[in-house]
């Protein structure tokens, strides 16, 4: 037996636990020849004696403890039985979580999939008839609000946040004097642009004859001409831009 093997089996040997008789003989023989291992053995023997000292010095539990535990038992038994808690196992918790997530997705799916950015804007609005006359096709003009809002609200036209907190919108409107975006012709009669709030841009198709009547030349007379109309929240058209 080597010193390393003895080190492995020494605890078993001292505890007399699951050590074969042959191993015990080998340990005894090794201890008689190896001084280092004999010193280790004596060291462990002393440790074992000190541990025995600790075991012997352990106090005993008091009788008061027995009485308290018994009193607790009687109290708990005399209490009405509490309904056992429903404890879900981990798979059950996972299954319920997955079910709840699926239900949530199903509930939100119609809302998320709805094409809400497509709106139908009819040209029947209170803008001047000569400008906002419906095209010959009389079909509603379709546009997307996202496109409109991106293009129809240039950054310099967007209302600052603090303006929304203004107590008097009319005063705010009077204070804001702006010019039309580039390419737009004013349709207002009193001032150039008096709308203090965000405007929407509506894409319309106008007969080319109508455009020519307004003093604009067209490369190809006849047919329809696309135009963007700026309309305020009050329904009044304030500017128009013909597509080149």
């Amino acid at each position: 037996m080597t010193c390393q093997e003895l080190n492995l089996h020494l605890d078993n040997y001292m505890r007399k636990e699951s050590t074969a008789e042959s191993d015990g003989d080998a340990i005894t023989a090794h201890l008689s020849t190896c001084s280092d291992c004999r010193r280790l053995f004596e060291e462990r023997n002393e440790l074992e004696r000190s541990l025995q000292l600790v075991r012997d010095s352990a106090p005993r539990s008091s009788e008061e403890l027995d009485a308290r535990v018994l009193a607790n038992y009687r109290r708990l038994v005399s209490e009405p039985a509490v309904a056992p808690k429903t404890i879900l196992s981990r798979p059950a918790i996972l299954a319920w979580t997955a079910f709840a997530a699926a239900a949530l997705l199903l509930g939100l799916a119609p809302i998320m999939m709805r094409p809400k950015d497509i709106v139908t804007i009819r040209t029947q609005n209170p803008v001047p008839q000569m400008i906002a006359a419906p095209p010959a096709t009389s079909e509603p003009v379709r546009s997307t609000t996202s496109q409109m809002r991106q293009s129809a609200r240039p950054r310099h036209l967007r209302k600052p946040r603090h303006e929304s907190a203004s107590p008097n919108p009319a005063l705010a409107a009077a204070q804001v004097v702006r010019s039309l975006p580039e390419g737009f012709r004013s349709l207002m009669y009193c001032d150039e642009l008096s709308c203090a709030q965000d405007m929407d841009m509506i894409r319309v198709q106008l007969p080319s004859a109508f455009v020519m009547r307004s003093g604009r030349s067209l490369p190809q007379p006849g047919g329809l001409v696309n135009a963007d109309v700026l309309v305020g929240p009050d329904g009044i058209a304030r500017g128009i831009r013909f597509e080149q």
Binding site: L8, L51, V54, S61, Y73, P84, I87
Partner: protein, 206 residues
């Protein structure tokens, strides 16, 4: 008359929960000593050990319906509860733990005890040495301390300790071997000096 000696711990627990006080007393007598000793060696406090023991049995009565035989015996179930309460007490008492003892007082203790051995009774020496050994055990890392407390002080077999700590028997062996080496090193100042050896075992501290 029921013979509870033949009943298993699980049966006693079931009958205790059903209101059989004698079954509960039998179960208490079986488990009390092991839980109390474990708690005492882990906390070094009789008061804390009694607190843990009481709480373990209260919890056992409240949560006993959640016990599953397939997860181990009732002793292991109660030990798990006791271990949690011991940790709770350790966390609670941590701010009030004394500073770690320097090695030199141990050396001084040896010389002091030897010098006054005639004045001191053997019981006082043994108590003092036992206290020092307990302090050395308490300073071990937790996984070594658990192995020493269960195997050396509570005298559980390796298999029982492995079941309590949910680890392999080989792990217990290696932890115990390493813990013994550390303890022997820590207790070196208390070992008999050559002079004491010459005076015989009466002068030996350990």
């Amino acid at each position: 008359m029921d013979n509870f000696q033949l009943s298993s711990d699980a049966d006693l627990l079931t009958r205790s929960l059903a209101g059989d006080e004698r079954a509960f007393v039998a179960l208490y007598d079986r488990l009390k000593s092991g839980i109390f000793r474990y708690a005492f060696y882990m906390t070094n406090s009789k008061t804390a050990a009694e607190e843990v023991t009481q709480e373990v049995f209260i919890t056992l009565l409240k949560e006993g319906r959640n016990y599953r035989r397939t997860r181990g015996d009732v002793g292991a179930f109660a030990f798990g509860i006791a271990r949690n309460f011991v940790r709770r007490i350790e966390r609670r008492e941590r701010p009030y733990l004394p500073l770690p003892v320097h090695d030199s007082p141990l050396e001084n203790l040896a010389s002091t005890l030897v010098a006054h051995s005639e004045d001191l009774s053997g019981q006082m020496i043994r108590d003092e040495v036992a206290g020092r050994v307990q302090a050395a055990i308490a300073s071990l890392p937790d996984h070594y301390r658990q192995a020493v407390v269960l195997c050396d002080l509570c005298e559980l077999s390796y298999e029982e300790a492995a079941a309590r700590l949910h680890c392999a028997v080989g792990t217990i062996r290696s932890r115990l071997n390493r813990a013994h080496a550390i303890l022997a090193q820590k207790l070196e100042p208390l070992r008999c000096s050559a002079d004491i050896r010459s005076t015989g075992t009466e002068g030996c501290l350990i």
